[in-house]
Subunit: 552 residues, 2 copies
């Protein structure tokens, strides 16, 4: 019988010392529990993804020294399997090291390097070619890393041929909706093909735009999932494998949507704030559903004392909006301030009276109001050190219904990858958790969305209803559908053309947006690398009309 | 004898129709000049780099149809070699097609796919494996694409073995300082090894952050460069190869630095503005050297009528600054407005009086002033459709000596990759071109740099002198040097630590900065992919201090 500990930890990118300290402490726990081996996630030494830090020789050297320190300081305990950056004559490798008796006794180099979506591994790493493993307690353990398990072939074919009874797979596998199910499927497929136990160890925690959701699993050779570690939290899971599994799965069942998305956002927000050394966040509260949701998320993630809400009513804001913002703050027990934007707005209009003479008011005035709000929040950030949260959602971000340097201002945009219709769903779920009727006032949820930047403005003046818009965004952005394909699914051709043009022309805005937490299969940003200068789908004979920078 | 036309054109990404129209017109010119073949750049059908557009099936299909239209519409003329996205069972390919008689008569698929620096080709393309070519006028012509020529091996080894007398190499090779020399060296090496003429055809024009500088060349089998096309402009170069070269090189000699950098910036700025459908730009004129230089560049690139300068003095601005800004505008003959920032600034301070009560003025007040300026420019952009130019340089961008949503606001940051010391060098060069003593007032050049956001402020209050700072930035950013290595070169250890911390902690600002034109071997942005959350080189025991968002 071999006892394996799954060390589902939350490392920090670049924190070589802290990550090793954490692994030393967890190895001591595993040793105490008489584990033969503890497996940590992919690149747990450096954090994942280390990106171009790996291109610095000194960083690679420091990571190797950190690996050797981990080996030395765990020498009396359980064998350790951990991820690190290895170096060979062929180049750098995304590698796994087996540490025992103070030494690195075996190495495995990732064979399949993902270079799609958010991944750039062929940029920095050279692929390995050989299987690898270690024999412990009379049991052969094969080693693999993340992407290695996503398709048949090496190294699993070698483990199948050798009859290796257990294969370890260490991961830095980021979350998106439905990912846990995909992972189970590929793990089941590999276990069945290989005829081996598959021990899948994932990372947990937030790193910039990515959330690692944990959810480590153990799959039997018959393809059944036997153990599930926690999701969205660190976890040390112990399993005994001896032909059969002699340990019991005692973790609670995994949460499902929409709670799952909520937990991902909460973890992503908390880790971004904490790992960057902030202790407080601030955000504008408009009385609308997006800001109410982000405030709730932040209060849940960081505690209400760490959240500062600021209502910044305009001359066009309804009194109800201010009331709803205040009510939300009261229910969340977060700090609440009211700052008027009209004095600064009026000052701008006076200053601009000369150049604006004889022109009709429009987008410029709307955007100015949004930018006064952005500036006030940034001033609070500069003075008090709070991280500004931008509250825009994916639907707005897609079509550019947002003001650069205005409501887009902030250090983090937590719901940037959450479509508006999903925001509503998450709000309903969260309110159902209470206390009472929940933190978000009913009127906030039921009133028609509005930027309140001109009289009687509604989002639907400029956009189709969100339940019409969101499926179009999904079809064009996430599925790369052509206008023809989207129309063939039943959408209105004129609307499709308009929405696609809006999406394409907002690329310059998205390029300057705050980082957001990826929760869909394709987020804006490194997941979708589109040129700003791009005439595809626009009539090349007719020049592209000048783009606006605000709503509409 | 074979007569080859080098079609050094400026395509636009996504403009399949426009790019093909251009190639049809150029092929007619080459046919008229009795060329046997005209060679266009890499991916000339789609523009380069098409990035994730290639992941859309419809885009690839449309590009294939565009290729066939080009074949049809040039069927009576010279043979065409052009770049396109090919599709096979193995995947998508960065390919070259030979078009003759209305058909695609040969295809070549790029073997070496760059996936470093600004390049992500393995993200979208599958590598080819075979050499390819065409026989014309009794001469075998081998084909290769860009990166294929950067190292020995396939396909050049096959051409050497076959005794192929001429190898065509089509490129989308972006500019950086010194790149033209690097290219000549690798072309000479390949020509010598292969024993063949090398016809190197590059693209010209700006695409987002990249500038393609043209500079196509013809290299003899003895490694000597025999022909040079223009740089920074479209060019149709005709060469006759018949064992020897029977055509004469009649192009003017290439420009050298600093003029070369100036031309690159000019082209990058012009193409960004024009290809995105703008006809006017606006920018703040502080009286300082950066904004004076960007205004000059814009006036040279677009004509003075397309440039709108706005002085926005603060309570801390010296009268000389305003005079110098006005003098610059007069000399450039650009539009000039003065907008006061103090009314809006005062309104902000009154609005913030409550939350700011009992705190000392500082960074928040400095940044507010910068942000009032950003907002005023964006208001002009919203009202009049001018593209805002941000005027920050690489030195400021590196250490974060800039205000997010303030002086960093804009659609394009032309000198974002130009270190401050190089800005001075470019200014001296440009002034020497006249008229008279040049556009930039002497006082602008000689006075100590200052943000003028508090009394008596100088850049050197917060930063080392730029001639000390710039080499440190180059060592850390462009050369990935470690603190130890940089200190070993003779730098002050305390200063090195401070500068590196500033650079690392400004990553969140750079992530929201406007696109800029790459002119150094490593620009910020896709060229250098660093995590925001990053504890490397920071003491992990001591939390990272909250980061500021403004100067200092």
């Amino acid at each position: 019988m071999v006892r394996i500990a799954l060390g589902q930890i939350d490392p920090t990118v670049g924190d070589l010392q802290g990550n090793v300290d954490r692994m030393i402490a967890w190895t001591a726990r595993a040793t105490e529990a008489r584990a033969d081996l503890i497996a940590f996630p992919e690149l747990a030494i450096t954090g994942y993804p280390p990106e171009d830090l790996v291109l610095r020789d000194a960083f690679v050297q420091d990571n190797l020294e950190a690996l050797h320190r981990l080996a030395r300081e765990t020498s009396g305990g359980a064998t350790v399997l951990t991820g690190f950056v290895d170096r060979s004559e062929a180049g750098l490798h995304n590698a796994a090291g087996v540490l025992s008796g103070g030494d690195v006794i075996a190495r495995y180099r990732k064979i399949k390097l993902p270079n799609y979506g958010v991944f750039d591994e062929r940029r920095t790493f050279t692929a390995g070619t050989e299987p690898g493993g270690v024999r412990l307690a009379g049991t052969d353990l094969g080693i693999s890393i993340c992407e290695d398990a996503w398709t048949p072939g090496p190294p699993f074919d070698a483990y199948a041929q050798a009859g290796t009874p257990v294969v370890l797979n260490i991961n830095g596998s980021p979350y998106h909706r439905g990912k846990a199910g995909e992972r189970e499927e590929i793990c089941r497929a590999r276990a069945l093909e290989t005829g081996a136990w598959l021990v899948y160890v994932n990372m947990v925690g937030g790193q910039d735009e990515l959330v690692f959701d944990g959810g480590s699993i153990v799959v039997a050779p018959d393809g059944s999932v036997r153990h599930r570690a926690s999701r969205f939290a660190e976890d040390l899971l112990l399993v005994d494998i001896d032909g059969e599994l002699s340990s019991a799965d005692d973790r609670p069942a995994w949460v499902t949507e929409p709670q799952e998305v909520y937990r991902a956002l909460e973890l992503g927000l908390r880790d971004y704030v904490v790992k960057n050394g902030f202790t407080e966040v601030c955000l504008g509260l408009s009385g609308g559903v997006d800001s109410a949701f982000v405030a709730t998320l932040a209060a849940d993630a960081l505690g209400p004392d760490a959240v500062r809400g600021v209502a910044m009513p305009s001359r066009y804001s309804s009194p109800e909006s201010l009331e709803d913002a205040r009510e939300l703050a009261t229910r969340l027990a977060i700090r609440f301030d009211v700052l008027e934007i009209d004095p600064a707005f009026r000052a701008y209009l006076e200053t601009l009276a000369g150049p604006f003479a004889g022109t009709a008011p429009g987008l410029a005035e709307e955007n100015l109001q949004a930018r006064v709000r952005g500036n006030l929040l940034m001033a609070l950030s500069n003075r008090f050190g709070c991280l500004v949260l931008a509250t825009g959602n994916k639907s707005e971000n897609a079509v550019g219904y947002a003001t650069l340097y205005g409501d887009m201002a902030g250090g983090l945009a937590p719901i940037k990858d959450v479509p508006k219709t999903l925001v509503y769903e998450l709000v309903r779920w969260r309110n159902a958790q209470g206390p009472g009727e929940g933190p978000i006032p009913q009127r906030t949820v039921t009133k028609p969305p509005s930027a309140e930047l001109r009289p009687e403005q509604k989002d639907t003046d400029s956009l189709p209803p969100y339940d019409v818009l969101d499926p179009l965004i999904e079809a064009y952005v996430e599925e790369d559908g052509s206008p023809e394909e989207i129309v063939a699914e039943g959408a209105d051709p004129v609307l499709v053309e308009r929405v696609i043009a809006m999406i394409d022309r907002a690329e310059h805005k998205r390029r300057q947006s705050a980082p957001g937490i990826k929760i869909t299969p394709k987020a804006f940003g490194r997941d979708r690398r589109m040129p700003i200068t791009n005439r595809y789908l626009h009539d090349p004979v007719r020049p592209v009309p000048p783009r606006t920078t605000g709503p509409a």
